[in-house]
């Protein structure tokens, strides 16, 4: 049974929304971390090359 929240959104839907947003944030964080690793790699190559 779904229990309505203060805004009238069923609790099950609210939980699902929360999970979806958490997943999106996790993916964004992963993308940032991968981009940072790639960036630091490129910077190291440039600096070692005398850039």
């Amino acid at each position: 049974m779904t229990v309505p929240s203060a805004q009238g959104i069923p609790a099950a839907d609210a939980g699902d929304l929360r999970r979806r947003r958490q997943r999106a944030r996790n993916w964004a964080l992963l993308a940032i971390l991968v981009a940072l690793v790639a960036l630091i790699y490129v910077i190291a190559i440039v600096r070692m090359g005398g850039g």
């Binding site: 929240s5 203060a6 805004q7 959104i9 609210a14 929304l17 929360r18 947003r21 958490q22 999106a24 944030r25 964004a28 960036l39 490129v42 910077i43 440039v46 600096r47 850039g51």
Partner: protein
């Protein structure tokens, strides 16, 4: 539950319960402010004599952007109480309850430290030090100390926004000379008339939030007089890059014209009793700085009309 949720109410509490979206964190970075900061930083980078590897130049710009965003996020965290009162700011992620204040400040601090460290390691430590100073100035001097205490808040606090061209310059040269100081002064003198134009037609909002902006404390007449003085002083200052040999004659002519129009805008505000001229001046002030730095960049671009002055 966080203090923001308590002050903002049950709806906001539900929003926090549902978790924040990636878009909310992007909004914390004040993307519109960031665009002007990045652009002025890029202008400083282009105006500086010397060479910087394109990858390192891109990293320098990225660090300026992220540092600016970090300062914006910390500012939104600190100002969440007054942001909830003002119409212009009540749609921000924290007053809307979409981002928890603790998450916002953590986000800002991590980005601030990260951007300064990356600038230092990838570019140079002078640029990193200047970036750290700019962030600290915006957070501690402007946001925490001056904003709620004095009508001169944006005059002194405006220094934070004047740092990016100096950071760009320092990223290339590793030092500071008269030219980047002139660019600093240019943005510094531009900031008061820009913000007071906004404050003139948002005075009620600022008064409600208890922020002592000049129109609230001294009235519109005194504010308009100050705006006129600053725009007149800005006129010769915008020519400094040409006088110092950083920009060519085309820049000088265009800067004089743009500065003249800025003075005209301030004169129109002086004679206008409605909000119209102030709104137009605010819009023009943004265009003014964009065009001025565009001219500086074009002037320094090899192969264009000047082939890079000096």
């Amino acid at each position: 539950m966080s203090d923001a949720a308590i002050t903002i109410g049950a709806g906001a509490g539900d929003a926090i319960e549902a978790g924040s979206r990636v878009r909310d964190f992007v909004q914390l970075l004040k993307p519109r402010v960031m665009s002007l900061v990045v652009f002025s930083g890029f202008a400083g980078l282009m105006a500086a004599p010397g060479q910087l590897h394109p990858v390192l130049a891109a990293v320098a710009i990225l660090c300026i952007a992220v540092g600016s965003g970090a300062a914006g996020a910390i500012n939104m965290w600190y100002d969440r109480d007054i942001d909830a009162i003002m119409a212009r700011t009540r749609g921000r992620p924290i007053p809307m309850g979409r981002v928890d204040p603790d998450e916002a400040v953590s986000f800002g601090i991590v980005l601030a430290i990260g951007s300064v460290m990356l600038m230092g390691l990838a570019v140079n430590w002078l640029a990193a030090g200047l970036l750290a100073t700019a962030i600290a100035f915006y957070v501690f001097v402007y946001t925490i100390w001056l904003k709620r205490r004095t009508p001169q808040n944006i005059v002194i606090g405006g220094a934070a926004g004047a740092f990016p061209p100096v950071i760009g310059w320092a990223a290339v040269t590793g030092n500071i000379s008269l030219a980047p100081i002139a660019l600093f002064l240019l943005v510094f003198m531009w900031t008061p008339p820009h913000f007071w134009a906004l404050a003139l037609y948002r005075a009620g909002d600022y008064a409600k939030a208890g922020i002592p902006m000049l129109p609230v404390v001294a009235g519109s007449r005194a504010t308009k007089r100050q705006m006129l003085i600053y725009t007149v002083l800005l006129l010769p200052l915008a020519l400094a890059p040409w006088l110092l040999g950083v920009a060519g004659a085309f820049y000088a002519c265009a800067a004089a014209l743009l500065g003249g129009l800025f003075v005209v805008a301030a004169v129109r505000v002086w004679y206008d009793s409605s909000e119209r001229a102030a709104r137009q001046m605010f819009a023009y002030s943004i265009l003014y700085l964009f065009l001025l730095f565009t001219l500086l960049i074009l002037d320094r671009t090899p192969g264009l009309w000047n082939g890079g002055a000096a």
